[in-house]
């Protein structure tokens, strides 16, 4: 499952510009890795394109969005002739690098638009300019499914990339060429090849009425089928005899939904397929849904209600009598207003909105009356409010000087977090100030109380609900790491891998280590020489602080490689000598044997005599240290 390495975008987030420099500290720290920058670039393009579907071309959002995208594109263009930006099911590929993107935001929307053209994306060349991009964006927005083939645009610096599917690493076949004239269901029933089956399912979906078609990507179908026991699926195919493909699809949808109730993302995806594809009525049907009002969407049962006046009067009489005061109390109005602002704040990420809200909220929160405090408390309560919203609000309160209010609302007590961990943990992190010693101590206390095992067990939950890699959280984990929070460092490595290695090495080097297995930390010249497994293992000693023997073996081998490397200009004599001395700290037969060889001047064939002598001396010293 791809790890969503950014804080999940909130629904209803409005029109965001991921490249907007005014996004502030949070945004800047998020852009601290190449992957984030690439994702932001892709999101910037998608947002600008989507904006044009809503706003006129003269609108500043459209113009600014395109200008920001072009500015962000420029540095990449200097690296090569073209920058290819393609959007796939759950990931975007930018300049050859794949980055997963969140299911919300503009990228899924852009992919659907591109799909309508059979394009995977665009190669941007150095000749691209605002007008050309605007024209291209206009073209993308103009096309609808089922519309006639568009004219192929000839715009400078913009080259559409056709969607061509290829074999994926997992062996699922994406499809560029479909069978010419298959008796679809027969082949479907007959083929044991899941890839082919998915291919055919996808094709069937593609053949639906364009207006009634839904987004079922090959990848999604692959995952759906992957979730089902193959034998059952085969049996189902036999039973159906290929008569009704929709029933088969329905069965694919039904089964996992029931099985995966606890897996929010899957449940959402499956629900989406179920409701949009199978629940969709033909456009011509009279009771087709109502897009304009929730109330008249055609609720189940509405058809059963007639205009019988007698029954109406009975039902009317049964309604309670009473008095309604249209002028609600000041307190009620204030609470509704503050609730509205807070709701806006957590749902709308547009920086301009956030700042506008500050104008309204600041005075109210400076001296909150009890009614306002009750609303804030509710929004900060992870039992009442989705965690990502709590985190969002926490971050805003801290950034706008209302941390004291948040604290007084009892939302970030580490003791409370212990009880409900991992629920609420990310919100807790979001509320902490990386620069505050008190906050860092709270984090350490929490980690100590939780223990490595409990933290490690929460890895999947934390990754799914936003992850630790969001800028501020990573700062907290890596800023001034304490031994108690090392399991979090391990989780961070799991989430981000090499993207976070430099920061992890720097953080670990800053710590005081007693374990000899950590001695490599001061020796290897560049961070990329550290294997991730080594760094991760260092963060997860057992309950007695011991590391597995394999880690010690790894360290010995690395030290030996370092001492004996012959053609590595980055390794000087001093480093070699230090590596040899460190071997003396590792109480293992392998280390002793190696040192004995070195002491007898075995090896080091590429070194001069003086160097070899010094190394042999170092090995003897190390041996003595080992003996004592």
């Amino acid at each position: 499952m791809p790890i969503n390495d950014r804080q999940s975008s909130p629904p209803g987030g409005g029109t965001r510009h991921p490249l907007d420099p005014s996004m502030g500290t949070l945004r800047n720290t998020q852009l601290d890795s190449r992957r984030d920058r690439l994702l932001a670039l892709a999101e910037g393009w998608a947002s600008a394109t989507k904006d044009l579907s809503i706003y006129p071309e003269t609108n500043h959002r459209v113009r600014d969005g395109i200008a920001r995208f072009l500015a962000a594109l420029q540095p990449h263009l200097t690296e090569g002739d073209e920058v290819e930006l393609t959007v796939h099911a759950e990931k975007v590929r930018v300049a050859g690098e794949e980055v997963p993107f969140p299911p919300t935001g503009a990228l899924p929307w852009l992919r659907r638009k591109l799909d309508a053209f059979g394009w995977a994306g665009v190669a941007f060349g150095s000749a691209v300019d605002a007008e050309g991009l605007l024209a291209f964006t206009r073209l993308i927005n103009a096309r609808r499914r089922g519309a006639a083939e568009p004219e192929h645009p000839q715009l400078p610096g913009i080259r559409p990339i056709p969607r061509v599917f290829s074999q994926t690493p997992e062996g699922w076949t994406d499809f560029d060429s479909l069978p010419e004239d298959p008796v679809l269901v027969e082949i479907l029933a007959g083929t044991p090849d899941l890839g082919r089956r998915i291919e055919l399912l996808q094709r069937k979906v593609d053949e639906c009425d364009p207006d009634d078609r839904i987004e079922v990507t090959p990848e999604l179908m692959a995952k759906l089928i992957k979730l089902l026991p193959i034998e059952e699926l085969e049996a189902e195919l036999d039973v159906l005899g290929g008569e009704d493909l929709s029933l088969l699809l329905q069965s694919l949808v039904d089964a996992p939904v029931q099985e995966l109730e606890l897996h929010g993302t899957w449940a959402h995806l499956l629900d989406r397929i179920g409701t949009t594809f199978f629940g969709r009525e033909a456009p011509a049907q009279e009771d087709a849904a109502e897009p304009l009002s929730a109330a008249s969407r055609g609720h189940p049962g509405d058809d059963l209600v007639d205009e019988d006046v007698g029954r109406f009067l009975e039902e009317f009489d049964a309604l309670p009598e009473g008095e309604v005061v249209l002028a609600s109390s000041d307190q009620e109005r204030l609470q509704e207003l503050v609730g509205t602002w807070l709701c806006q704040l957590v749902l709308d990420q547009d920086p301009a909105v956030q700042e506008r809200l500050a104008v309204h909220l600041d005075p109210v929160l400076r001296k909150p009356d009890p009614a306002v405090r009750r609303v804030v408390e509710r929004y900060l309560d992870p039992d009442l409010t989705p965690l990502w919203q709590v985190g969002q609000l926490m971050g805003w309160l801290r950034d706008h000087g209302h941390l004291a209010l948040a604290r007084s609302c009892g939302a970030i007590r580490w003791e409370d977090c212990v009880a409900r961990f991992p629920v609420g943990f990310l919100a807790f992190l979001d509320a902490l100030d990386p620069g505050s010693e008190t906050d860092r101590t709270d984090l350490a206390k929490l980690c100590q109380e939780l223990g490595a095992e409990r933290i490690s067990a929460a890895a999947q939950f934390l990754a799914r609900t936003g992850g630790l890699s969001q800028g501020r959280r990573a700062d907290l984990v890596l800023g001034h790491p304490r031994v108690e929070q090392l399991p979090l460092v391990a989780l961070l490595l799991d989430e981000r891998g090499t993207a976070v290695r430099d920061r992890v090495v720097t953080a670990l080097r800053s710590m005081s280590w007693k374990a000899p297995e950590a001695c490599l930390l001061r020796l290897l010249p560049t961070s990329d020489r550290y294997e991730l497994d080594y760094l991760r293992a260092l963060c997860l000693p057992d309950a007695h602080g011991r590391y597995p023997a394999t880690l010690r073996g790894y360290v010995i081998h690395r030290l030996r490689d370092l001492a004996e490397s012959e053609d590595d200009p980055a390794v000087d004599l001093a480093t070699r000598i230090q590596a040899v001395r460190l071997l003396g700290r590792l109480r293992a037969g392998e280390a002793r044997s190696l040192l004995q060889d070195l002491a007898r001047k075995k090896g080091f064939l590429g070194l001069g005599g003086g160097d070899r002598k010094q190394l042999a001396e170092a090995a003897k010293e190390a041996l003595r240290a080992l003996e004592t």
Binding site: S53, R138, D306
Partner: protein, 454 residues
Amino acid sequence: MCERDTHGPGRGGITELVDEIIVGLVNHRIYGFDHTRVRDVLDRLVRKLEILCADPAKEGVLLGVADGYLIHEGRPLLDASLAAPRLIRTMEGMGGSGLEIDRGAGEDDFRTLLTVVEEARKRNWSVKDAQDDLAFRHCSRIRFLEAATFDEVSGKRLQDGLGVELPSSIPIGLYHRVLDELQGLSIDVCQGNRLDVTPAKGQIEGILKQLEADAKALMNLARYESYDAFTFGHSIRVCFLALTYARHVAEDPDLRNSVGLAALLHDVGKSLIPFEILHSRTRLSVEERKEMEKHALFGARILMELDDPEPMAVTAAMGHHRSLDGGGYPSFVKGVPVTAATRLVKICDVFEALTAVRPYKDAMSPARAYRIMFSMRGHFDQVMLKQFVMATGLYPAGTTVRLIDGRVVRVEEQSGDLLRPVVSTLDDEPRVIDLSEESDAPTVEGVAERVEVA
């Protein structure tokens, strides 16, 4: 009698053509001609004209204009007229009497028409100026009609065009002014301009005055469930309904004004919802629905950015899909109250949506709409809903009803007895009768004619 040209999916072709002209006029102001939305409109205009002229004998379409109404083939088009203030006022301002569109007019012709109408409005052109401009732009298939030539040109096709009976009981001027304000606000929202709702506040006072003077006339409009291209009509009718209720329960004029404004602007966020979603004729997908639901958030955002935001309007825009049981959208944390004003806007919003025509459905009767609302437990304030029914009535003001004694009368206002409202007779010397005051008075048996204006 007005021509009812809007009944769900099978709406009249002429009204659809006018609708597209209106959409084109608004969208080209917002987006310019190069935008997809405007190009789509031009394409649809050509196709709709082709359909209207499917009969080989038909040479084109002639739209007359008089006293705030569009007239086609001797009959005023009420729904199209309600939705087309700018087109009507511009043509009337030119001193013209209509518009003639020949069979075969193409996208370029319609593009020119939109341009010239806008120019004529801005520059106060006469018919001759506008006609000259059309000619200058090589548009020969569309013509504005001089008042004097109207008779000559249209004599055969609009024989009673000049003498057509126009409905006098509808305050179409007021409706046009409110609609114009809403359209202006929507355009400003789309263009990112700073909003000014002061004129809209002024219109609320106008509506309240009209309610005091002749509630029946206004409720006539509330029953004209024309589906307008930008959902402005919905907002106006929700405003009428909310003010009708507010008049019954609140005496404070400021409170009434605030409630009216909140109701009028409750859907302002829809200005930022993609057109394809807003006017989808099919069931929305989950993603589309989520996009649609953002209108509440957008509405609050738009109103919050005003220099002097009206709190009630902000909270109603955000909260008019919230339910009392904590459901609805956007998702508020439980425990945040829903004030009476927001609850009222929700009731009016749902009632209007149920009783209005949509492209995919006909209007429901008030009785059926109420029954559906009664069944939506947890959504509404039940006490307020009961009061709303009392204020709006089972047979809203303006409805022509048949009494059980066989008489046909028109409802003037509500009396407190849902089956015995205050009615007026339809004879030459109408008498107003409060049926609830007579113990043996007949009750209403049913609607005599669902749609009638004059």
